[in-house]
C-alpha cells in the first residue's frame, strides 16, 4: 500500500478497495519499525490519526469524499497543532502545546487528510541538513550516514521512506526544494502569499512560505490545492483566485520556453548534477520545449543579501521567545533581564543564536543602512533579473542544489552550509514559485531539477514536472531497506 502514490491511494480509497483505517494502521506499523533509525517523526499521534481515519471512512462510505479524504500525511513541526506538541525543532518549545491550529493544519484536516504526526526539522527552520534539530539529526533514507537536507528534512525523509503519503514543508531559502532534491521526492514552494502563514512559526516573514512534499508532481498539485487560498488571519495572504492545479497537468509542452541561467552552471556545481540536469532539459526539449540560455546577473549576490535579510527578520521574530508567555523558562531567574537572557540562552541552539546575533547587528544603529537597507536594494535587483528573464522565457530551469546529500557531521563551517541554498534563495527573495523534482542519481544519491516560474504560475511548474514524470521514472526509484 505504501508504495502507491497519494493519487493512486485516493482512487483505492474511493473505490473502497482499502479503508483509511487500514492505510493508517499500515503506516503506523511502518513508522514504529523504521522511524527509530531515521528520526524523521518527532511525535506520532496514533489516537488522533485512528479517529480521523474512522471519520474519513464514514465520509468515503457516504460518498462525501474529496481527493484527499483518508490520506495519511505528516505535518512539519513548525505548524501549530492544537493539543499536540509543536516544538519547531527547538528546546525552547519542548513542552509547547499551541492553543490553536495553523490554517494549513485546519485546511488539510477539512479536506479529509489524516495527520499521522509531526516531522523533524532544523531548529526554527534554520539549516540545510536537519542537524540543527534539538531532537537529533535525521538520516537520509538513501544512505543513512548522509543528511536529508533541511530545514524540512524530516518531511523529506519520511516521504522518501514511505512513512506517510505526503508531508508539508516550509521554504524560506530552499527548505522544501533542497531536502526534496536530497531525498529524491517532489516539492513545491508556491508564490509568496499563496498559502496562509497563520500558525506557522515565523522565521523570516517576508520569505517564509509553506508547500507540499510528495512522491510526484500530481500529488503535490492535489495537496497544494487544499493548502492554498486567502486567509483573513494573514495580511500577506493573496486575495487572487486559486486556479485548479490539476486541470492543466496534462497540457502539452509544445512551444514552452525554458530559460537556462548560465550562472547556475558555473564553478561549484557537481559534474554529475550538471549532466543530469542537461539530460532532463534534453527530455523536455524532446517533449516540445524550447531551450534558451539566459542570464541572471545578480545571482551571485543572492546568498549575501539573504544572510542579511533573513537573520534580521529572525532576530525580530524570535524576540517573542522570552520565557514569559510560552515556552522554556530558566530556573530561578534573579530579575527580569536574567529571565529573558538565560531563558533564551539556554533555550536556543547555536545556529539560531548566530542568526539572532547577526540580525541584531545588521539592524543596529549605524549599520542599518550599510547592511539591511543595502540588502533590500540588492533584493530588488535580484527580483528585477527575474522580471527581465520572464519577458523572454516562460519558466527557468536548473539544478536545485550544487551537490548531492553530504555526510552527517561533514560541514562544520556555517558558510559552507549556507552555500547549499545557492540556487534556491533567489525564488524566496523574489517571492516566486519554485519546484524540485528528481532527475537522476550520482553514486546512489538523488539529484533535483529545479523549475522557477513567474508569480502565481505554480500550475505551469506542476504541469512541466508532471509531463517530465510521464516520460522519465526517476521519481519511481525508492531507497533500499524500507520494505
Amino acid at each position: 500500500m505504501h508504495d502507491k502514490t497519494l493519487t493512486e491511494q485516493a482512487s483505492l480509497l474511493k473505490a473502497r478497495s482499502i479503508s483509511s483505517v487500514e492505510l493508517v494502521d499500515h503506516y503506523l506499523e511502518r513508522i514504529a519499525r523504521l522511524n527509530p533509525d531515521l528520526n524523521a517523526y518527532l511525535c506520532v499521534d496514533e489516537e488522533g490519526a485512528k479517529s480521523s481515519a474512522q471519520a474519513a471512512d464514514k465520509a468515503l462510505a457516504a460518498g462525501n469524499a474529496g481527493p484527499l479524504t483518508g490520506i495519511p500525511i505528516a505535518q512539519k513541526d513548525i505548524f501549530c497543532t492544537k493539543g499536540i506538541a509543536t516544538t519547531c525543532g527547538s528546546k525552547i518549545l519542548q513542552n509547547f502545546k499551541a492553543p490553536y491550529n495553523a490554517t494549513v493544519v485546519d485546511k488539510l484536516a477539512q479536506s479529509g487528510t489524516v495527520m499521522l504526526g509531526k516531522a523533524n526539522m532544523d531548529e526554527f527552520a534554520m539549516g540545510s541538513s536537519n542537524e540543527n534539530s534539538f531532537y537529533g539529526a535525521v538520516a537520509n533514507p538513501w544512505q543513512r550516514d548522509r543528511v536529508p537536507g533541511g530545514s524540512s528534512g524530516g518531511s523529506a525523509a519520511l516521504v522518501a521512506a514511505q512513512l506517510a503519503s505526503a508531508a508539508t514543508g516550509t521554504d524560506t531559502g530552499g527548505s522544501i526544494r533542497q531536502p526534496a532534491a536530497f531525498c529524491g521526492i517532489t516539492g513545491i514552494k508556491p508564490t509568496y502569499g499563496r498559502i496562509s502563514r497563520y500558525g506557522m512559526i515565523a522565521y523570516a516573514s517576508s520569505l517564509d512560505q509553506a508547500g507540499p512534499m510528495a512522491r510526484t508532481a500530481e500529488d503535490c498539485a492535489v495537496l497544494l490545492q487544499a493548502m492554498s487560498g486567502h486567509d483573513e488571519k494573514d495580511s500577506t495572504s493573496s486575495t487572487l483566485e486559486v486556479p485548479d492545479f490539476t486541470a492543466t497537468l496534462n497540457d502539452k509542452l509544445d512551444g514552452l520556453r525554458i530559460g537556462i541561467p548560465k550562472e547556475y552552471f558555473g564553478e561549484g556545481l557537481d559534474g554529475d548534477i550538471a549532466d543530469a540536469v542537461h539530460s532532463a532539459l534534453a527530455e523536455l526539449e524532446k517533449a516540445g520545449a524550447i531551450l534558451k540560455e539566459i542570464s541572471l546577473p545578480n545571482q551571485s549576490h543572492c546568498i549575501p543579501a539573504y544572510y542579511v535579510i533573513a537573520p534580521a527578520e529572525a532576530s525580530s521574530n524570535l524576540s517573542r521567545f522570552d520565557g514569559v508567555r510560552f515556552g522554556y523558562r530558566c530556573e530561578n531567574p534573579q530579575n527580569i533581564d536574567d529571565l529573558y537572557t538565560r531563558s533564551r540562552g539556554e533555550g536556543f541552539g547555536d545556529e539560531v543564536k548566530r542568526r539572532i546575533l547577526i540580525g541584531a547587528y545588521a539592524l543596529s544603529a549605524g549599520y542599518y543602512d550599510a547592511y539591511y537597507l543595502k540588502a533590500q536594494q540588492v533584493r530588488q535587483l535580484v527580483s528585477n533579473d527575474f522580471t527581465d528573464a520572464f519577458n523572454e522565457v516562460d519558466v527557468i530551469a536548473g539544478p536545485t542544489t550544487p551537490t548531492t546529500a553530504f555526510k552527517t557531521g561533514e560541514k562544520t563551517d556555517p558558510i559552507s552550509m549556507y552555500l547549499n541554498d545557492l540556487f534556491t534563495v533567489s525564488a524566496n527573495l523574489s517571492g516566486l514559485p519554485g519546484l524540485s523534482a528528481p532527475c537522476g542519481f550520482s553514486e546512489g544519491l538523488p539529484i533535483g531539477l529545479q523549475l522557477v516560474g513567474p508569480v502565481q504560475q505554480e500550475a505551469r511548474l506542476l504541469n512541466i514536472a508532471h509531463q517530465y514524470q510521464q516520460i522519465t521514472d526517476w521519481h519511481k526509484h525508492t531507497p533500499e531497506g524500507i520494505a
Binding site: 499551541a98 492553543p99 490553536y100 509568496y192 502569499g193 517576508s206 483573513e232 495580511s235 500577506t236 493573496s238 487572487l240 549576490h301 546568498i303 549575501p304 543579501a305 544572510y307 542579511v308 522570552d322 520565557g323 514569559v324 508567555r325 510560552f326 515556552g327 522554556y328 523558562r329 531567574p333 534573579q334 530579575n335 527580569i336 533581564d337 536574567d338 529573558y340 537572557t341 538565560r342 533564551r344 540562552g345 539556554e346 547555536d350 548566530r354 539572532i356 546575533l357 547577526i358 541584531a360 547587528y361 547592511y371 543595502k374 540588502a375 533590500q376 536594494q377 540588492v378 533584493r379 530588488q380 535587483l381 527580483s383 556555517p414 558558510i415 549556507y418 527573495l429 517571492g431 516566486l432
Partner: protein, 95 residues
C-alpha cells in the same frame, strides 16, 4: 570586517541572549566570516534602487475594521510557564 568577542557580548546583551563565555570567541570568528561574505554587497551599485521589503507589497490588504470575538484569555495563557489570575508572572520589576 572583524568582530571581537566584546562586540559579540554587546550584541548579545542587546538581543537579551545568554552566551557562555567560552562561546564568544568561536561566535566572533563565525560572524566575522559571515560579515566578510556580506561585505561584497557594498561593491554593488544600487544608486536609485528602491529597497524591496516584501514580495507582496503591492497586494497587501486590510480587513474591515469590525469588532470580532477574540480568543479566550485562559486558552491563550495555557502555555505560560507561570501565571496567576489572568496575569503572566515575572520576577519583581519595580522595587
Amino acid at each position: 570586517m572583524a568582530l571581537t568577542s566584546e562586540d559579540i557580548a554587546g550584541i548579545a546583551h542587546l538581543a537579551r541572549l545568554g552566551i557562555e563565555p567560552d562561546a564568544l570567541d568561536p561566535l566572533a570568528k563565525d560572524l566575522s566570516s559571515l560579515l566578510d561574505l556580506v561585505e561584497q554587497l557594498q561593491a554593488i551599485d544600487t544608486t536609485g534602487v528602491e529597497p524591496m521589503a516584501h514580495p507582496a507589497s503591492a497586494s497587501l490588504w486590510l480587513r474591515e475594521d469590525e469588532a470580532s470575538p477574540s480568543s479566550e484569555r485562559e486558552t491563550l495563557q495555557e502555555p505560560a510557564p507561570e501565571k496567576l489570575d489572568g496575569y503572566f508572572l515575572v520576577p519583581r520589576v519595580i522595587e
